[in-house]
């Protein structure tokens, strides 16, 4: 479909400088993390519909079955709830499953096992049971994916104690956060974004982790704080870089993990800038944006110089059609407009 390719090719990411290290594509960074985990820890295994098929989950699982065998890298029946429970049961008994989905939409079929079982056993069994598992999915956007193949569900899961939620935005983080997630002794959701799969980055070789629950400054500035994760954070960073030419210096915080959420880094920045723009790949209501806004109102109110703003999705399901999609999703232009409004004297 040519219009698909046109849309993808329109994506512009800042090219990494090879002088700074090895350049790797996003899927290859994920692939490397999985291979390292499988090599170093015999309890790690990878499952999911299509993990061993020719498209290899955007390329992230390419070659793993050949390298580590069909016992440890395997395709599954279309049984999301059972496979989430099977992963939970295996994790409760010494294994470290990485259960991969093409889209978060399919995780909704498995909410009972994820929310009511995997997230609960450690507490319910008073610490006698651990559930070290990773649930991975790539958020869709565009390509006509529409209401049932584009959902970003982190907001629904934010209020579930026992879960951790990771949302990388760079190939470096995709590798390091995934390795940290696999090492973690709790159920960890890793939400990638399909559009980031086209991004290259500097990715060190070998094993390293990026700590869960810690955000990072992507850009420093004194005029406002932008906090968020994943693809929308990437867009916000692009907007912030452009607005520097207009004299607006935004501070951009990549949360990396939305649960647990690094409150300290956002507070540090808001104390300085007095303005907070919360961005997310999901609906603005009741999710990461809402939580950041609430924290600002509850804890950082006295530092605020203006109202908190949110850029997420409107309270509308994703449309499938190309034109409607352009109205639906935030882009660099819309983010820039909001930043200008916030910083207008």
């Amino acid at each position: 479909m040519p219009w698909d390719e046109a849309l993808v090719n329109r994506l512009v990411y800042e090219a990494p400088n090879p002088a700074e290290g090895r350049v790797l594509s996003y899927p290859k960074a994920v692939n490397e993390a999985l291979a390292i985990a499988l090599r170093h820890d015999p309890s790690v295994f990878v499952l999911g519909q299509g993990v061993d098929d020719p498209s290899a989950m955007f390329g992230t699982t390419r070659g793993l079955k050949e390298q580590f065998g069909a016992e440890r890298v395997f395709d599954t029946p279309l049984s999301e709830e059972a496979m989430m429970g099977v992963s939970t049961g295996a994790a409760m008994n010494g294994m470290r499953p990485v259960y991969m989905h093409n889209r978060p939409d399919f995780i909704l079929l498995a909410m009972n096992q994820l929310v009511t079982h995997a997230a609960k056993f450690h507490f319910m069994d008073n610490g006698q049971t651990r559930v070290p598992m990773v649930v991975w999915a790539a958020i869709g956007r565009g390509w006509g994916s529409g209401a049932q193949h584009s959902q970003a569900i982190q907001g629904m899961l934010l209020g579930v104690p026992g879960l951790k939620i990771v949302m990388p935005s760079t190939p470096f983080d995709a590798k390091g956060l995934l390795l940290a997630a696999i090492e973690d002794n709790n159920p960890v959701l890793v939400f990638e974004h399909r559009w980031l799969m086209r991004k290259d980055g500097i990715v060190p070789e070998g094993f390293y982790t990026v700590p869960l629950g810690k955000g990072i400054y992507r850009r420093r500035g004194a005029d406002l704080t932008i906090a968020g994760a994943s693809h929308t954070l990437e867009l916000a960073l692009q907007a912030a870089n452009q607005l520097a030419e207009e004299g607006i210096q935004a501070e951009v915080i990549d949360l990396r993990t939305v649960k647990p959420l690094d409150e300290a880094i956002v507070e540090e920045s808001v104390r300085k800038t007095g303005r907070l723009l919360a961005v997310d790949t999901a609906w603005a209501a009741g999710g990461v944006c809402a939580e950041l806004g609430c924290l600002a109102a509850e804890k950082w109110f006295k530092h605020l110089r203006g109202p908190v703003r949110r850029i997420g999705l409107p309270d509308i399901p994703a449309p499938a059609g190309y034109t409607l999609e352009q109205f639906y999703y935030p882009d660099v232009g819309r983010i820039s407009r909001v930043i200008r409004e916030m910083c207008a004297k």
Partner: protein
């Protein structure tokens, strides 16, 4: 009203010769284990109105033979996963009685530190591995435990108990299918007691559906068994365990049983009208403890004095465990914040 579901088994008729294959101590152990569950639950039931056990209870009275017969075929290393009706499973698997009662009394030294209550009894030392209070919830988890055993190359069988309503959940179909595909060492033990809470089978399953035959359609071994006959249950479970250990894959067992008490709480609730009191009374004539006790008496293995002795020993143990639980400390506020995330 009338009797909807009748006992269709033949009790211990013809079991005289078959039972002689086992030594007397083993046969008596099965009886004692069932009797112990009954006496403990009757004591729980007797005291429940005092409101000191602030936990929902789901008594297993009438269904003791399934837990006991099945667990007799397992080792401590084998894992048992359970539903909300946990008492029989926990005690038959060898779970600690004092820890169980402390949990029922919401004490800090309960088997789950008062996080679980009676629906989440756990004793990992003896393989009582976990439970789910969501119907069907533990089924994929036991399947995953079997997958782990396969991948770790350890000799460990997983068993999960479900009711016939568990066979109505989609996740059960999904799990059976996966276990059959992977030929996993897992046993699905279905206790068909004909009611889910107060809903009879009729609005839930077609009268033409036979649960164990449905399970067989996934490509696994599946068998029916008289759930009131502890020896029949034991032999069926033993064969399933052997199959699992030898790499022969999963087994589904459907046992016909009857719950003598309400779905939850103390006493029977047949009077409320969802089932005929006469139906319960008809099944009580096939009580697994009474019929097996009679069989042992007739075989000259258990006389009235020996049985009396057994009862008084169990009661003494039970009362001591109640005293222990009631004298145990409550949790403190700091306990609430522990073990939310694993370090």
């Amino acid at each position: 009203m009338s009797i909807r579901y009748r006992y269709s088994g033949t009790g211990f008729t013809g079991w005289g010769d078959r039972a002689r294959r086992y030594d007397r101590a083993f046969l008596l152990r099965l009886f004692r284990s069932m009797l112990r569950i009954r006496i403990i639950e009757e004591e729980i039931e007797k005291r429940y109105h005092e409101d000191q056990m602030k936990t929902p209870i789901h008594l297993v009275i009438g269904q003791e033979a399934t837990s006991v017969g099945c667990c007799a075929a397992l080792t401590d290393a084998d894992l048992l996963y359970s539903s909300h009706r946990t008492h029989g499973n926990y005690l038959a698997k060898g779970g600690d009685l004092k820890s169980m009662l402390s949990e029922m009394f919401c004490r800090a030294n309960g088997c789950a530190g008062s996080r679980g209550g009676s629906m989440h009894l756990i004793d990992k030392k003896v393989g009582m591995a976990g439970t789910s209070a969501i119907v069907g919830g533990a089924i994929p988890i036991a399947t995953g435990a079997a997958l782990a055993a396969r991948m770790q190359k350890v000799d460990r069988v997983s068993v999960v108990f479900l009711g016939e309503a568990g066979a109505e959940e989609g996740v059960t179909s999904e799990s059976l299918n996966f276990a059959a595909v992977k030929r996993l060492p897992v046993i699905y033990f279905c206790e068909n007691n004909h009611y889910s809470v107060q809903s009879p089978l009729a609005p839930r399953q077609s009268p033409d559906r036979v649960v164990w035959k449905w399970a067989a359609s996934y490509g696994m071994h599946s068998v029916p068994v008289d759930g009131t006959n502890v020896l029949a249950v034991y032999e069926t479970a033993k064969e399933a365990v052997k199959r699992a250990r030898e790499g022969g894959g999963p087994t589904f067992i459907e046992a016909q049983v009857y719950r003598f008490r309400a779905h939850g709480g103390a006493g029977d609730d047949s009077k409320t009208g969802y089932r005929d009191v006469a139906e319960r009374e008809a099944w009580e004539a096939h009580c697994p403890i009474a019929t097996y006790g009679e069989f042992l008496r007739g075989s000259g293995m258990l006389d009235a004095a020996a049985r009396k002795q057994m009862e008084s020993e169990i009661l003494a143990e039970t009362l001591a465990a109640f005293d222990h639980a009631m004298a145990s400390p409550n949790p403190v506020e700091a306990d609430l914040y522990r073990n939310v995330y694993a370090s």
